[in-house]
C-alpha cells in the first residue's frame, strides 16, 4: 500500500513537471512572465524556508538578498559580463553577507533577530537607492540582457521561462539533497531543540550561520534571474515589503515543508492575476486569508494537508487493527 502511494506521488510529480514544460508553450508573453516570476520567487522562498522552516531562524531580509543578486546581475551583464559570472558573484556575496547577518542570530532570538534583519533590509534598500554611481539610484538600470546558454539566445519569453524553470529544478534537487544530508538533519535539530543539538555534538554556531548563509545565497540566485526577467530594475521592488511577502509565501505554503514555497509562491504570484476582478480588494482578501490560515493552521496549507493525511492513516490503521482483532477472536 505504501509502495503504491510512492508510485502515485512519483507519477503525480512527473505529470506536474511535464505540465510545467508543455502547457506554457502556447502562453502569451504575459502568462510566461507570470510563470517565470513564480519560478524565481519560489527559489527565493525556498532559501527562506531553509532559514526559517528548517533551521527556525526568522529573517526579514530575504528581499534584500534578492535585490543584491538582481543588482549584481544587472550591473555585471550590462557591462558585458556573462550571467554565469554574475551568478557566481551574487552567490558568493549573498553567502558572505548572510553569514555575517547570522552572527546576531547567535546572540539574540526570535523578535530581536526579526528586527536586525528588518534593519538590514531597510539599509540595503537605502544603498540601492542612494549609491547612484553603482546602482543608478531611482532611475534604475534598463536594457538588462538575457543570457545565451550553450549557444541558444534566450531573449524570447519562452526560452527564458525554461531558464527559470531549469534553475528552479536544479535548486530543488540540490536542496532536496541538502535537507536529506546530515547537514539538513542538523538544521532541523537546531530548530527543534538547540540545547539538545549542542549536547549531541552539533556545532550549533556553525550550522546557524550556515542556514542563514545558504538561505541568503538562494535569495541571490533568485535575484540574478529576476534582473534579466524584468530587464529593468530599480530599488522599489526590493524594499521591505518583498521580504514580508516572501516570509508570507513560506508561511502560507507551509514552513518546514519542502513543497511549501512552491505552493506559497504560486498563491502570492498567480492568485492576484486570477483575483483581478476583485480589483483593489485583492490584498485585503489576501491579508484576511493569511490571518485566518494562521488561526486555523500555523503550519500553512501543507500543514492542513499533513494533518488530514495523518488522521486518515491513523483511521486506516485502527480499522486494520479492528479487523485483525476480530479475526483473532473468531479464531478458536
Amino acid at each position: 500500500m505504501i509502495g503504491s502511494g510512492k508510485h502515485l506521488r512519483i507519477g503525480l510529480g512527473i505529470v506536474l513537471i511535464a505540465g510545467l514544460i508543455v502547457v506554457p508553450v502556447n502562453f502569451n508573453r504575459y502568462g510566461l512572465f507570470i510563470l517565470s516570476q513564480w519560478a524565481v520567487m519560489t527559489i527565493a522562498a525556498m532559501g527562506l524556508n531553509l532559514t526559517l522552516g528548517y533551521a527556525g531562524q526568522v529573517s526579514l531580509a530575504q528581499g534584500a538578498f534578492v535585490g543584491i543578486g538582481a543588482y549584481a546581475a544587472a550591473i555585471m551583464t550590462t557591462q558585458g559580463a556573462p550571467l554565469m559570472a554574475a551568478l557566481g558573484v551574487a552567490v558568493v556575496l549573498c553567502f558572505a553577507v548572510g553569514w555575517l547577518l547570522g552572527y546576531p542570530a547567535l546572540r539574540v532570538q526570535h523578535h530581536y533577530l526579526a528586527f536586525v534583519t528588518l534593519a538590514f533590509s531597510t539599509l540595503a534598500f537605502l544603498v540601492f537607492r542612494n549609491e547612484d554611481w553603482l546602482t543608478k539610484g531611482i532611475y534604475g538600470i534598463s536594457n538588462i540582457p538575457r543570457p545565451t546558454i550553450f549557444g541558444f539566445a534566450t531573449n524570447r519569453p519562452l526560452p527564458f521561462y525554461y531558464v527559470c524553470l531549469g534553475s528552479l529544478g536544479i535548486v530543488s534537487v540540490m536542496l532536496w539533497w541538502l535537507i536529506r544530508s546530515p547537514w539538513g538533519r542538523a538544521f532541523i535539530a537546531l530548530r527543534e531543540n538547540p540545547v539538545r543539538a549542542l549536547s549531541l555534538g552539533i556545532d550549533t554556531r556553525r550550522y546557524t550561520l550556515m542556514a542563514f548563509a545558504i538561505g541568503s545565497a538562494l535569495g541571490g540566485v533568485a535575484g540574478t534571474l529576476y534582473a534579466p526577467l524584468t530587464q529593468y530594475i530599480d530599488p522599489v521592488p526590493f524594499n521591505l515589503s518583498l521580504s514580508l511577502d516572501l516570509l508570507m509565501m513560506v508561511i502560507v505554503g507551509g514552513a518546514g515543508f519542502f513543497f511549501g514555497p512552491f505552493l506559497g509562491a504560486m498563491i502570492a504570484v498567480l492568485l492576484p492575476e486570477w483575483l483581478r476582478f476583485t480589483e483593489g480588494y485583492y490584498l485585503m482578501l489576501y491579508a484576511a486569508a493569511v490571518i485566518l490560515l494562521l488561526i486555523y493552521s500555523p503550519t500553512g496549507i501543507l500543514g492542513i494537508l499533513d494533518r488530514f493525511l495523518a488522521e486518515r492513516r491513523a483511521k486506516a490503521a485502527s480499522a486494520l487493527r479492528a479487523v485483525a482483532k476480530s479475526g483473532l477472536e473468531a479464531a478458536p
Binding site: 532570538q109 523578535h111 530581536y112 528586527f115 534593519a119 538590514f120 539599509l123 485585503m284 491579508a287 494562521l294
Partner: protein, 291 residues
Amino acid sequence: MSNLLDLLVAGLATGAIYAIVAVGFTLLWQTSQTINFAQGEFVMLPAFLMLAAMHAGAPFWLAIPIGILLSLLLLGLGFKMLLVDPVLRHGVLPLAIATMALAIGIKEAVKQFFSAEASPFPSVVPAGEIAIFGRMVSLQSIGVLALAILAVVGLTAFLNRTSIGHQMQAAAQNPTVARIIGVPVERMILLTFLINAFLVALASLLITPIYLAKFSSGEVLGQAAFIAAIVGGFNQVRGAIAGGLLIGVVDNLSAAYVSTQYRAAVPLILLIVIILFRPQGILGRAEERTV
C-alpha cells in the same frame, strides 16, 4: 548653535510621539507576548477614522472622541479578540506574522475606502511661534512635546501609583502568581490592549498634522517605534520613553548633519549596534532565556 536648538526641540517633539507609540508596543509585549508589526498602521488609522467622522459632518472637537472610541473598539478590543487570542496559542512567531498581514490589510483598506493621496489634517495645537529664552520656537513642537509628556507622565503614574496599575504590572510579570493572589489577569491584558489603542490614537492625533494622513505613513512610524522600544529596552516603559526621545533627536540631527539620503540609516545602525552589544536595551533588564 541656534539651529541646533531648533533641531533638538523638533527632535524631542517627534521623539515624544515615537515614545508614546513605543510604550504601547512594549506594554503589548509584556502582557501578552504580542510583537505588533502593525503598530505603525495602528497610528495611521485613527487619523483616518477622525477624518471620516468629519466627512460625516462632525466638527473636529467631536471627531476626536469618536476617533478615539472607534480605535479603542477596533484596535483594542477587536484586535485582541479576533486576532491575538486565537493566534497566540500557536506561538509568538505566527502571531507576529499575523500582525504583518494585518498591517497590509489596514493599509490596503485605507487606500481602497479612503484615498491613496495624502490628506491634510487639522492640528490640535495652534500654529505660530513662541519666544523661549529669547528664541522663537514653533508652538506646534512645544505643544506636541507638552501633550506627549503629559500622556507619558499620566501613564507612568497610572501604572505605578494606582491599584489597577499594580495589578497590570503583576499580570505582566508573573501571570500565574498574579492569578493566585486574585488579580483578574484576563481583564488586565484586555486593559493593556485598550491603553495601547488609546496611545496610538493620541499619537495619531499629534503626528498626523506634521506628516499628513497617508495610508503608507505607518511604515516609517512603526519602524521608528520598534527601534525606540528595542534601543530603550523592550521590557521597560521608561526604556521605551528614553528610546523614543533618543530616536527622535538622532533622526533629526542626522538629517541635518549626516545626510538627508541616509538619515533613515542612522537609527537602524544604532539598532543593530544595540542589539549586538546590549540586547536588553539601554535601560532594560536582561531577559532570562527560556530553553
